[in-house]
């Protein structure tokens, strides 16, 4: 007996059978209404609470990550500002050592100049000529009435002559002394100039120091803000990190381009050294060897930059004593130079192999070499120079690499935070959706059993009509 026949209650009339089944189902659903509602609500609540709990956990993780990011960022910022302040202090120290160490000498020179000027000034001061003592006697004689006495007139004339000659002599002496004073004042001019220059130098040094002090002040303000862990400082550092991330990423892309060119330059001649037909894990040994050489160059470049204390990727290198560091600088530089020479030689060999292959292809194609080789040494020399220069250029990859690594921590943190925030939002949304889905299911359930519910309402209305009126008024 098939299932269809079993379901066919009224043989020969499927519509009637379906109707009977619907009635039976509606009655059963009506009877199971309360527990079914409870079950749906429970399920919805479980899902809702589950999602909310998950969202809460994600939010907590996000907050922890934000806190951690902030700590990392502020630490990095503190370190960076400390480095800048240290550098500024070094500059101030250099200025003080260079310019102000000679201050005692300068002071002595200024004092000497001042003494000289003072002496000269004193010497140049004008002393008024003392009035001759006999001027009164002359005046008395001059006031004597002559009364036509020739002797008196003669005496007076003589006195006048003598006075005039004395006046001339006195004026000459005065002019002479004034000229001497002017000469002395003229001699003072170079001393004044020297003094002005010395003072100008001192002024410049002081101004430079003042500017440095202002920069240090700004850095210190920044440092204090970071130390206080303000949001403003965190925002500034985040923006700075993002900028660093993109700039260093761009520079790294350029460096990768350089490395690719370098690779192509040495991959072919490498096959002459390690063989062209051997493979390591699916890759040509020559290509792997070329790649290894480039990576070794990059590694040496990083060590060199670390030894020079330009980057701080390996603190152990930076903490070495100066003697050891200097040794390391020379060792890494020597290895880099050797590798650069090897690359230049490989570039030369590449040109030779390429020329040989070209000749072979021409002979195989039975084509005579046409045209004149124009300056065939130019590409050879160019390749050799590139082979020599690129390893040193790759050395500087360490600087953007450090910036990239440091800023990528912040960037990754920001991205992860955003993802977690969105995940929390999505989980909360799902929780709410599940809650309202439960409500919807309850309503749909009631929709299926609306005939018995309608009857139930009618009966209830007849039993308690006043309650409904009161409820309506309240609403």
């Amino acid at each position: 007996m098939s299932l269809t026949k079993l379901l066919l209650i009224w043989p020969g009339s499927p519509v009637l059978s379906i109707l009977i089944w619907i009635v039976v189902m509606v009655v059963l659903l009506y009877l199971a209404r309360t527990p079914a509602h409870k079950a749906i609500h429970s399920l919805a609540r479980v899902i809702h609470n589950g999602f909310r709990l998950m969202a809460r956990s994600v939010m907590l993780a996000e907050q922890k990550l934000v806190q951690r990011n902030k700590e990392v960022l502020l630490n990095a910022g503190t370190e960076s500002v400390e480095r800048l302040i240290e550098r500024e202090f070094h500059r101030v120290d250099a200025v003080v050592k260079r310019d102000l160490s000679g201050y005692p000498t300068l002071h002595r020179a200024l004092s000497d100049h001042a003494t000289k000027i003072d002496e000269d000034y004193r010497e140049s001061s004008e002393t008024p000529p003392a009035p001759p003592a006999w001027v009164g006697a002359v005046e008395a004689v001059a006031n004597l009435p002559s009364q036509g006495d020739g002797t008196v007139a003669t005496i007076l004339t003589e006195i006048h002559k003598t006075t005039v000659s004395q006046y001339k002599t006195a004026m000459d002496e005065h002019r002479k002394s004034v000229a001497e004073r002017h000469n002395l004042l003229k001699k003072m001019m170079p001393y004044w100039r020297r003094m002005a220059q010395t003072l100008e130098q001192v002024g410049k040094t002081i101004t430079g120091l003042h500017e440095r002090a202002r920069v240090i002040d700004n850095r210190m303000t920044e440092y204090e803000e970071i130390r206080e862990q303000t949001d403003k400082a965190a925002r500034m550092l985040t923006a700075s990190s993002l900028t660093q991330f993109f700039i260093s990423g761009f520079v790294l892309c350029i460096a990768i381009g350089g490395a690719v060119i370098n690779f192509n330059l040495i991959a072919l001649p490498m096959s002459e050294m390690v063989g062209g037909g051997s493979y390591i894990g699916g890759f040509k040994t020559a290509n792997v060897a070329a790649l290894v050489i480039i990576l070794v160059e990059v590694a040496m470049g990083i060590y060199l930059m670390e030894s020079l204390r330009i980057t701080r990727l390996f603190p152990i290198i930076g903490q070495m004593d100066d003697k050891m560091r200097t040794r390391m600088i020379w060792i890494t530089f020597s290895i880099l130079s050797v590798l650069a020479c090897v690359e230049a030689a490989l570039a030369f060999m590449r040109d030779q192999i390429a020329a040989d292959m070209q000749a072979l292809r021409q002979s195989l194609a039975a084509v005579e070499a046409t045209g004149v080789a124009i300056n065939s040494w130019i590409p050879t020399v160019g390749q050799m120079v590139m082979g020599f220069v690129l390893p040193f250029a790759l050395t500087f990859v360490a600087i953007p690499l450090e910036s990239f690594i440091q800023s990528s921590r912040t960037v990754l943190g920001v991205i992860t935070t955003a993802i977690l925030r969105w995940l929390a939002f999505f989980l909360r949304l799902l929780g709410n959706v599940s809650h309202y889905c439960g409500e919807l299911l309850v309503n749909i359930y009631d929709l299926f059993i609306f005939p018995p519910l309608w009857v139930e309402n009618l009966i209830r209305d007849k039993k308690h009509p006043t309650e409904i009126i009161v409820e309506e008024e309240v609403s």
């Binding site: 096959s271 062209g276 037909g277 390591i280 040989d356 292959m357 292809r361 195989l364 194609a365």
Partner: protein, 215 residues
């Protein structure tokens, strides 16, 4: 501990790469039909060989043999060489190979018989001995076998992992009368090769020689 772990991680690709014993080299064995009118086609065959010499890499192997009355013999090999791993030495070897082929084309004599099966069997031996990763048997012939009386060649051939490429399969005068003969000849060879575990291909357009190494 961390240092050792880092060292192991660093060496892992090399340790993983070392056991790779797969041969990446190519082995090419070219059979030249020198029977009857096909001797005139040797200039074309020379062009193909030159193309192959230009394409093959250091470490690859190549051999050229003629098809005559009894080709299952080393005597029929005109030139064979496994190119050195160093490109400069390989280039010298290629020049030498070319010289041998040029001499052969100049002095080749026509053969009355065409033992393609014997040549194929000889080529499988050579390619297996060369240890080539990719094996190619190139048959420069009209694919019509003409055997010496008494020779037995109607048995299945084993060409496992070999790419058998028929080049410049010209239509005979009789094919023009009844083209079904040509198609039957090609189909028979395809069936024999595929039954022997090989791959069959025909390249008649000699302007598209790069198709030889496709697939």
């Amino acid at each position: 501990m961390k240092k050792y772990l880092a060292l192991i991680l660093l060496l892992l690709p090399f340790l993983w790469g070392c056991p790779d014993t797969t041969s990446h080299s190519r082995g090419v064995y070219m059979l030249l039909d020198t029977s009857g009118t096909y001797k005139k086609e040797l200039k074309r065959a020379e062009a193909i060989i030159n193309y192959l010499l230009g394409t093959l890499q250091p470490g690859d192997s190549m051999a050229v043999a003629r098809i005559d009355s009894g080709s299952f013999s080393e005597k029929d090999i005109v030139a064979k060489m496994t190119f050195d791993k160093r490109p400069s030495v390989a280039n010298q070897q290629k020049r030498l190979f070319k010289q041998k082929i040029d001499d052969f084309v100049q002095t080749a004599k026509g053969s009355a018989y065409t033992d393609i099966t014997g040549g194929v069997l000889q080529s499988v031996e050579f390619l297996n001995e060369a240890g080539a990763g990719q094996k190619y048997i190139l048959i420069f012939s009209d694919l019509k076998e003409e055997l010496v009386k008494g020779q037995i060649r109607n048995f299945p051939i084993q060409v496992d992992g070999c790419n058998v490429v028929a080049l410049n399969v010209t239509k005979l005068r009789s094919d023009n009368v009844d083209p079904r003969e040509y198609y039957k000849r090609v189909a028979d060879w395809r069936a024999r090769v595929e039954a022997g575990g090989g791959k069959w291909r025909i390249v008649n357009d000699l302007e598209r020689l790069e198709n030889i190494f496709e697939g």
